[in-house]
């Protein structure tokens, strides 16, 4: 009896979750993808199959150039996040003792804040009359405001790194924190010096967590369009912003959808590739 009701319950939930996935994710995605095969005439969408949009993407080199540049931008953001995030996660997990969860909570709190507010905040820190320039001017180190921080690629990178940093710290911390103490002791017992224990034991065990965090950061940085819009100025143009303007300003939904499809395709490839490589590395 119990078994039957259990079975019944499980199968109902399985069906429900499938329905949710199909109706809330797959169907909208498919309809969105189908738009990429349409074309526009003025403001009307012509619903006929055409590869025009994709041709356009490959022919006009500005799109591919922006795309490649955005990929580089995302790689830089990801690398910065790894360099800054891993040590934080490491010291948090290994040395923060009983304060570690309190500190972790403080790192998570910004995730509850609106993304837009955080970007504006960064703008007020990086801007011409922002915190950094004011402090430097007060100290007499500069005469006129530095332009290094605002309305360019640098500001996009700095802002994205700061906003996305918690996303790499959390999974890395989790994978480091669950390494039992006695596994590290065992490595010392077998002759490891501290650096060797890190190299052969701690880092490999935390690696999958680092990869998950890195993928989060990479994908989010790749598709982001608000940050370049608000702090990027004219030279901080990214692929995400092009997509956004095709939907918002140019009213060319089919072309926007085509650009987004390319992005989605590349993202999925990257995720699958990392997944495969991580598994091979762990063998």
């Amino acid at each position: 009896m119990n078994l039957i009701s259990n079975y019944f319950n499980t199968s109902i939930w399985t069906i429900v979750s499938f329905i949710l996935v199909i109706f809330l994710i797959l169907i909208p995605l498919a309809s969105f993808l189908s738009y990429s095969f349409f074309t526009v005439d003025g403001t009307d969408i012509i619903r006929e199959f055409s590869l025009f949009n994709f041709k356009e993407f490959f022919v006009d080199e500005i799109y591919i150039r922006t795309f490649v540049r955005t990929i580089f931008l995302a790689i830089i953001v990801m690398t910065c996040c790894i360099i800054l995030g891993y040590p934080v996660a490491f010291f948090l997990a290994r040395y923060a003792g009983r304060y570690k969860y309190a500190i972790l909570l403080m790192l998570i709190i910004p995730l509850f804040m609106s993304y837009i507010i955080k970007i504006y905040m960064m703008r007020s820190i990086l801007g011409y009359s922002g915190l950094i320039n004011k402090v430097l001017a007060m100290l007499g180190l500069i005469e006129k405001p530095l332009e290094f921080f605002l309305w360019n690629q640098n500001s996009v990178i700095i802002t994205l790194v700061i906003i996305l940093l918690p996303l790499i710290i959390i999974p890395t911390f989790t994978s480091l924190d669950k390494i039992p103490k006695n596994i590290i002791e065992a490595s010392f017992d077998l002759g490891c010096k501290p650096f060797q224990a890190f190299k052969y034991i701690i880092f490999p065990i935390s690696f999958p967590g680092l990869v998950v965090g890195s993928i989060f950061v990479f994908i989010l940085a790749l598709g982001d369009f608000v940050t370049p819009q608000l702090v990027g100025g004219t030279s901080g143009f990214t692929y995400g912003k092009i997509i956004y303007s095709n939907f918002g300003m140019a009213f060319n939904w089919p072309f926007g959808a085509a650009l987004a499809s390319v992005l989605l395709f590349v993202s999925v490839i990257i995720i699958l590739l990392t997944n495969y490589l991580t598994k091979r590395l762990n063998r």
Binding site: P180, N182, I183, E185, A186, S187, F188, D189, L190, G191, C192, K193, Q196, Y200, I201, P204, I205, N282
Partner: protein, 355 residues
Amino acid sequence: MSEILELKNVSKQYGNTKVLDNINFKINNNEFFTILGSSGSGKSTIIRMIGGFTKPSTGEIIYENKMINDEPIFKRPFNTVFQDYALFPNMNVFDNVGFGLKIKNINKDEIKKKVLDVLAVVGLENFSNRMPQELSGGQQQRVALARAIICEPKIILLDEPLGALDAELRKQMQLFLKEIQKKIQITFIFITHDQEEAIFLSDRIAVLNNHKFEQVGSPKDLYYSPQTTYMAKFFGECNLINCQVVNQDTNSIKVKSEFGDFVIPKNNNVSHELEFVYGIRPEEVKLVNKNENSMQVKIKDISFKGSTSTINVANEKGDAFLKIQNISSNISQSLSKGASINIEFNTKLGSIFTE
């Protein structure tokens, strides 16, 4: 036998809590030495101090006549088998076992040869590509042991290695450990809370009670000549009888007890004590015909255990009790509750406690 390790006046304190109080012992080469104690008695702390994971608050750890208190873990020629195995989850069995050699920069071919040899010793030659998570508890245990053995340490420290295994597997692993220790000729320091396990495996046992060593000796020593009443009750059962010395000569003492008078062989160090506790194992109490050394007691109850029976008896006044074991059931059948019988102690195997 040569001595390999010594702990001299070792104490350990965490803040105000004393975990170990003045521990002294010596371990011989190739010995199977067990530290036996209940959980929280500080037994793991001893092994962790020897391994180098924690330092003694006071006292010295001496390895081959050299004080090693400050020697870092990775320099000590000891390897540990951890309670929950502590296998590296990111490596397969082969890499786990070969890890100690890899750290020592030994070349790959030699590592391969040695790992396969050791895996054969522990009976896991077909498992070298498995990940630790894919192994049963007993197999993980063997990998942990192989990982320690391959480094050819002078001492292997085993921290309750069988604690997590079920009873059946535990028995198998005990046999396995005992055989392997004989085969590889390495000193084992073993920790357990299980008395039977300790008796079965060990050359010598140290019993830890209340943060101190109660007694150190071979299993037979601990059973037949316990030095304290705690020890008398620790292994098996023991009747404890309050005695007063009536008179003594050069080789015997006559004592008075609640059960009557009896004579025990004289033991040098108690000659001047007038009162002491006498301990006698239930199986060393004999039923006899009345004679000048026998005591008369009343049967309280008889419990049938198959070929033998256990009898509880009381003295004439009924305020003191004794347990008698291993009475042939042929004899116990002819006895009945309330009847009077004569008993005698096998005084060669009794113990005197003067504390």
